[in-house]
Symmetry: C2
Subunit: 130 residues, 2 copies
């Protein structure tokens, strides 16, 4: 006969489960490293595509295009085309996009502060496992 | 002859570029939706694997295993095996892991607050594009 041990699980309120899913969907978008960097460079003001390419080191043309399109779709970035010669297209944060600056800056500061701790932990872990 | 237009780019201080890369590497890890959820459920105290599975809706056994292993490697979560019968393995946040609770909570609160705005922006964008 099989013995089943029942472990009591503290129940989460329903709203927590709901928030978890909502959070997950949006985090998939805003927690993305290129999104964070785009919001970071646009926090100082509107920029053109090539300016962003240069300011964000290591981003490909394709990846920046996809990231900007997603941010535009989410209502976090606007794309404005000016009928000048040559034509000029500028990207800027919306109010909702600007409200992301603070939470992403907090996460960014955490990453900068804890990077040495993480690097050391990884080195130690890899020594133990190998 | 080709005409080159030079656009003056405001120079970022070197540390910004450096921080951008450091941030990117770590964001790839901590901005991940399952990482955020694991830190979230462990913020209330240590848990066993199956408890976490139940509290985080929709996470697969494999994904939770991989997420916990990465968090352990990064020094953000500990895995403690107790020599009881049956054996018991508990996961808990380290001090560094606990310091992630606040920034991730800020991002989580942002996601919950702005979810309706994002949902509406997406619906409007998709109407325009189709």
């Amino acid at each position: 006969m099989k013995t089943t041990v029942t472990v009591p699980i503290p129940e989460l309120p329903e709203s927590d489960h709901h928030n978890c899913r909502a959070l997950g969907q949006i985090l998939d978008r805003v927690g993305d490293k290129w999104t964070v960097m785009v919001v970071g460079v646009l926090s100082r003001g509107p920029l053109r595509f090539n300016q962003m390419m240069r300011e964000i080191g290591g981003v490909s043309h394709r990846m920046l295009t996809l990231t900007l399109r997603s941010l535009e779709r989410d209502g976090l970035v606007t794309r404005t085309a000016y009928a000048t010669i040559p034509p000029k297209v500028e990207y800027a944060l919306t109010d909702a996009g600007s409200s992301l600056i603070e939470p992403l800056r907090a996460l960014s500061n955490w990453a900068i502060e804890y990077r040495p701790v993480i690097d050391q932990a990884r080195a130690e872990y890899d020594m133990r496992v190998i």
